[in-house]
């Protein structure tokens, strides 16, 4: 058994730095490269792509990432775990294999494909057999939006990834795996942690939570002493060095920018946090109030003491559904009295929409530069040098939203004075794909692992 396993994060979301995966395998010693591509709404975007072309529906950036790390995988035995499969892990594997062979891999890739998270084709049967998939926030039954559902996936845990690694895969591609399982599964595999080693499993989950957003734990988006964080242009992505007992060090490669400190790690630990006593995953419930952080040299933080407890018998399900249309228009008003002018424009616009008989489910106006992010807490901004009116509408009637987008430009000549910043043209109408969180019994979700060589 290895004494230390190193897992590096190379992608915090679909759209992250394209070169980060390569830098992570070339910048220092690494055993596993973890790539997280899936945010809540990503699955629905991929589902739309798959509907247009059945060979798509995965994060295509991953193919390029695999090409860039191929030498490390083939020559140095670095293994890759990624949830790039989206709604089509098998097609993702085919594309990766083709690209690798073209680059001369000579069958050196053994790709484990994890499936079973996709519930879209089973939805009606699940609802009929007593799984209402009620919205966790509102309590509403899924049947209310059933005809507008685009995708439905269960968040699956570490088990099938561990299985793929045990079968000898050096690349594991999953669909809607939890972000944290991508880090925890390799540790569980290497250290042979049992399914009831609660404290170790929880430590693996915390390690995953810390690195799953890439550089957001290594100096990116860090408020603490932000002016002193060096060389963000060459920010180092994080990696964890984990021991069999589950204690680990968070660090980054030498000669990179950014910072790993108790403060940068603490900011990431509280990011998107709910009840810290119960960070629920399919494998284990981690207690964030048991985490101990300690400095361990330059750009190194030791993490220990983590306690875990058994998980629930449910899995979280992410359903995406069509939820109408929206558009946002903006205009900039200049001093003097910039805010007052923008406020008058807001009233004029609302009255015109009203006279046109346009009805929306929601209208929101913000005054950027005065109150958009801090509301009334921002205090008096009547002397601001400029204020942007940011006016948004949302509704189920596409034509009404479309008509609204024609009402912004006229204000330049027939509204309040000192207005500019309309060069972007008419606002674009966007279809809203909304997120519906639900729970389902674990027993009805069966995962499967296929090996492609």
């Amino acid at each position: 058994m290895k004494k230390i396993v190193r897992v590096a994060a190379g992608q915090g979301f679909w759209g992250d730095d394209l070169d980060a995966p390569r830098r992570q395998v070339e910048g220092g010693q690494v055993d596993y490269l973890m790539l997280d591509y899936l945010a809540e709404v990503t699955m629905s975007i991929l589902q739309k792509q798959k509907e247009r072309d059945p060979s798509l529906g995965y994060a295509r950036d991953f193919v390029g990432a695999m090409e860039s790390v191929l030498p490390a995988v083939l020559e140095r035995g670095v293994k890759v775990v990624a949830n790039a499969g989206g709604v089509n892990p098998a097609a993702c594997a085919v594309a990766v294999k083709a690209a690798a062979e073209k680059a001369g891999s000579k069958g050196g890739l053994k790709i484990g494909v994890v499936s079973g998270d996709d519930l879209l084709d089973r939805l009606d049967q699940l609802i009929q057999s007593g799984h209402p998939l009620a919205n966790m926030e509102t309590g509403e039954q899924l049947s209310a939006v059933r005809d507008r559902v685009l995708s439905a996936n269960a968040y699956i845990g570490s088990e099938p990834i561990v299985e793929a690694l045990a079968k000898g895969a050096n690349v594991v591609i999953t669909g809607r795996s939890t972000d944290t399982a991508l880090t925890m599964a390799p540790l569980r595999h290497e250290f042979a942690w049992s399914a009831t080693s609660w404290d170790q499993l929880a430590a693996g989950i915390v390690a995953g939570h810390i690195i799953e957003c890439g550089a957001q734990c290594s100096g990116g988006n860090c408020l603490y002493d932000w002016r002193s964080i060096p060389d963000l242009a060459n920010v180092g992505y994080p990696l964890v060095e984990v021991k069999p007992d589950g204690t680990f060090v968070v660090t980054k490669h030498p000669n990179t920018g950014g910072r790993v400190s108790v403060q940068t790690i603490t900011e990431q630990l509280v990011y998107e946090m709910g009840d810290p006593h119960s960070y629920i995953t399919p494998d284990v419930i981690a207690d964030f109030t048991t985490i101990t952080l300690a400095p361990d040299g330059e750009n190194r933080v030791l993490v220990s003491g983590i306690k875990g407890k058994p998980p629930t018998d449910k899995l979280k399900v992410s359903v995406a559904y069509r939820a109408g249309f929206k558009a946002v228009g903006t205009l900039v008003y200049a001093w003097p009295d910039a805010l007052e002018k923008a406020q008058l424009a807001d009233r004029v616009l609302r009255e015109r929409l009203d006279r046109l008989g346009l009805r929306f489910e929601r209208i929101l106006s913000e005054f950027v530069g005065a109150n958009a992010t801090h509301g009334n807490l921002a205090g008096d901004q009547s002397d601001a040098p400029e204020v942007q009116l940011r006016f948004g509408v949302r509704g189920s009637d596409r034509a009404a939203v479309e008509r609204f987008t024609r009402e912004i430009a006229p204000l330049v000549l027939n509204g309040p004075p000192s207005v500019t910043g309309f060069a972007g043209g008419r606002p674009k109408v966007e279809e809203i794909v909304a997120y519906w969180p639900a729970l389902i019994d674990k027993s009805v979700v069966t995962t499967k692992v296929d090996l492609i060589q």
Binding site: E267, G305, T373, H374
Partner: protein, 117 residues
């Protein structure tokens, strides 16, 4: 003595649906108890009045010198439904740091808290 939260804490926020979370972390470990004592659930509820529609939950993490607040109904529906600039609550953290707390002079001096100017 009046103390600005921004002078004694740092923070990060994120979202879960229509709920924003704000984790607020003491800049010096010895200042955590000031956060714990003065940045109460009711203080934060008052602070965000008019900005959020729902309740506030508070959790303590003494191990990280941090408090975690859940601000329900903060994001105009949240996710893709929201029309807000800050639809994912990314900078709610900085709005919390605008809070000014009133710490008894003796305690403030003992802990060397920076006074609000």
């Amino acid at each position: 003595m009046k103390v600005r939260l921004v002078d004694i804490a740092h923070a990060r926020s994120g979202d879960k649906g229509d709920t924003a979370n704000v984790g607020v972390i003491a800049l010096e470990p010895r200042w955590y108890k000031v956060l714990d004592e003065f940045v109460t659930r009711s203080r934060v509820t008052d602070h965000f009045r008019g900005m959020i529609d729902g309740d506030v939950d508070r959790f303590e993490l003494p191990n990280l010198n941090a408090l975690n607040f859940l601000l329900h109904g903060a994001l105009d529906g949240g996710g893709t439904l929201s029309l807000k600039t800050d639809a994912q609550g990314k900078v709610f953290s900085t709005a919390l740091l605008r809070m000014v707390i009133d710490v008894p002079d003796a305690e403030a001096e003992r802990l060397q808290l920076p006074a609000a100017k």
